[in-house]
Symmetry: C2
């Protein structure tokens, strides 16, 4: 090899690495409709139903901090993260497989607590834990989860189905999970600096945002409302890395551009309060904060009212544009930020 033989991952980023991995995907199976690149992979069953599969890995110290995350909340959140990707295809998850690598500093009781959280979430989402692998770790706790679900072909909603003129909508409100994380990190720092052994912070003013961080729920009510309303979004994605990232994914997969009206982006009162306290820009929470597990989707203009009769908790925040417009963030004042997609 004449080329550079040690490229650090940060030089190309994880998305750059995934792009490289796409060149190594084994055999091309005829029944695989979508591989790497949507919320879940899609495979066609012999009977015409589609199977959606999605998998994620969570590591202590990277994806969760056990100094403020109860094990049963962690279990719940991991299931939410896994099934949210399946719901985002308009599919119904039915099973998860859970792999856990456990360092010996954790007890049987704590691991049961983790599993109790996994199981509670699975009951809420009506899915079964069908298997997995339980093993030792010499370092941190690692949990990997794979969710599997089904959808009829005509119901499937991919990232790539948006068209010019479609309205961009999002359920609930955004940035709350990051606001909760900010509070938990601040309290952790306070606790570490204070040297107190039994520190019990008063989080009563921050209940909503802390709950959004520690115990997020996938938007099943929205998926059920879609079913009832007979409205079918063009494109859909769950909000796990912030809406700017998700809108980019929809626009690029659909070969379009997009405009976001930032004053229309739904932000809760509690999230605004946290940003004020932290002296930070609340729009950054809403645009780039991850793990909200809301659903971003596109609708034809006439479908908005139709959906509202079944489900009210969503906002129109922008519009799909032609490709050349790239991604515009319109603040409603003079300033417009342009992000190049192509």
């Amino acid at each position: 090899m004449e080329s550079k033989e040690f490229t650090q991952i940060q030089e190309i980023g994880f998305s750059g690495l995934v792009e490289k991995f796409k060149g190594f995907t084994g055999s091309k199976r005829p029944e695989v409709i979508t591989g790497i690149g949507d919320d879940s992979a899609i495979t066609k069953n012999p009977d015409g139903k589609l199977i959606c599969t999605s998998s994620e890995i969570f590591l202590e110290g990277v994806h969760f901090d056990l100094s403020y995350t109860p094990f049963h909340h962690l279990g719940y959140k991991i299931v939410t993260a896994a099934v949210s990707d399946i719901f985002a295809m308009n599919a119904e998850p039915n099973q998860v497989l859970v792999n856990i690598a456990i360092p010996n500093k954790y007890s049987v009781e704590l691991m049961e607590d983790l599993y109790r959280g996994l199981s509670t979430a699975c009951k809420d989402y009506n899915i079964q834990i069908t298997g997995g692998d339980t093993t030792a770790s010499h370092s941190v706790l690692a949990v990997s989860i794979t969710a599997i679900g089904f959808v009829e072909e005509e119901k499937l909603i991919k990232r790539s189905g948006a068209s010019e003129g479609d309205l961009i909508c999002v359920t609930g409100d955004l940035g709350a999970a990051l606001a909760g994380l900010r509070i938990l990190m601040r309290e952790k720092k306070y606790w570490q600096d204070s040297g107190e052994k039994n520190f019990s912070p008063d989080l009563s003013d921050y209940q909503y945002v802390v709950q959004r961080q520690l115990l997020p729920k996938a938007r099943t009510s929205f998926i059920k409302a879609l079913e009832k309303s007979s409205v079918k979004p063009g494109a859909m994605i769950d909000v796990t890395q912030g809406i700017i990232n998700e809108i980019q994914a929809i626009a690029k997969s659909s070969g379009c551009g997009a405009t976001i009206y930032s004053p229309a982006v739904p932000i809760s009162f509690e999230t605004r309060n946290v940003a004020d306290e932290m002296k930070e820009d609340v729009d950054k929470y809403a645009f780039y904060g991850g793990e909200d597990f809301e659903i971003l989707f596109t609708l034809k203009e006439h479908e908005v009212e139709k959906l509202k009769t079944e489900f009210e908790d969503f906002s129109v925040i922008g519009q799909i544009e032609k490709k050349e417009n790239q991604l515009l963030i319109n603040s409603g004042e003079d300033s417009t930020i342009k992000i190049d997609l192509y």
Copy 2:
């Protein structure tokens, strides 16, 4: 809670922990035929085909040692481990999802090498990598893999289908992967003790066993031969934790006992040589050595000859007995070891 609140995992072992986890499996879905407890979970499709799913996690320092494991071999082996569980149900794997958590000491090139190994294996097994998650790790490399496959209901072979009088058979030979590991560990120790920087051990005498450790292959040829022969084993399992463990799993799942004739257990010349060199009992390698990825199965007596016409590389090593006999290991001399199953 009045009960003990910190039980160390080693007090009950990982199998004890999994038993506890079985109490927390979320909803009971009607389409799930087998959850935790066989090589893979089995779910029924609307069209009658069964979906088999299996998931495993591998951690640096626990499941692999990168000082003697090339990344592309590691990738290959991980796929083998995942699909072997699907083949062991007599099913055909079609996709895997791969999650990787990467510490920043590893380069893009090394990770491509890992993926190249994953992809080569997937091509050999005719499956596609459909997705997964790629993320950072602050500690070790962790790889989690989920394999998904299909089987027609009448072809499915579970662990629980053995009956009294069935012969116990195994493909290939046993203990070679452990023999290979012993050699690699010896050479690593020699390298560490020597302080040499560029140490390149001569492994030419150990090629077979080292290959069995580093680059194991799932027994697809056996599964294909079964299809052709129209012989259907009563029970089947892949050998990943040593045959004593696997025979126990089959006997207990089937509500039976078993006898193993230890002189009949197939062991290669090379494996015997390594055990001699190490001054260890080669039967221990064959009985308790893991990761051979051979297939253990049960046949009616008259089926043995029928299968031999399609596939020769298997040995009859024992017989399924009534439950009360427990598990007997018959050395052919005076000694018989009894392991209580119930």
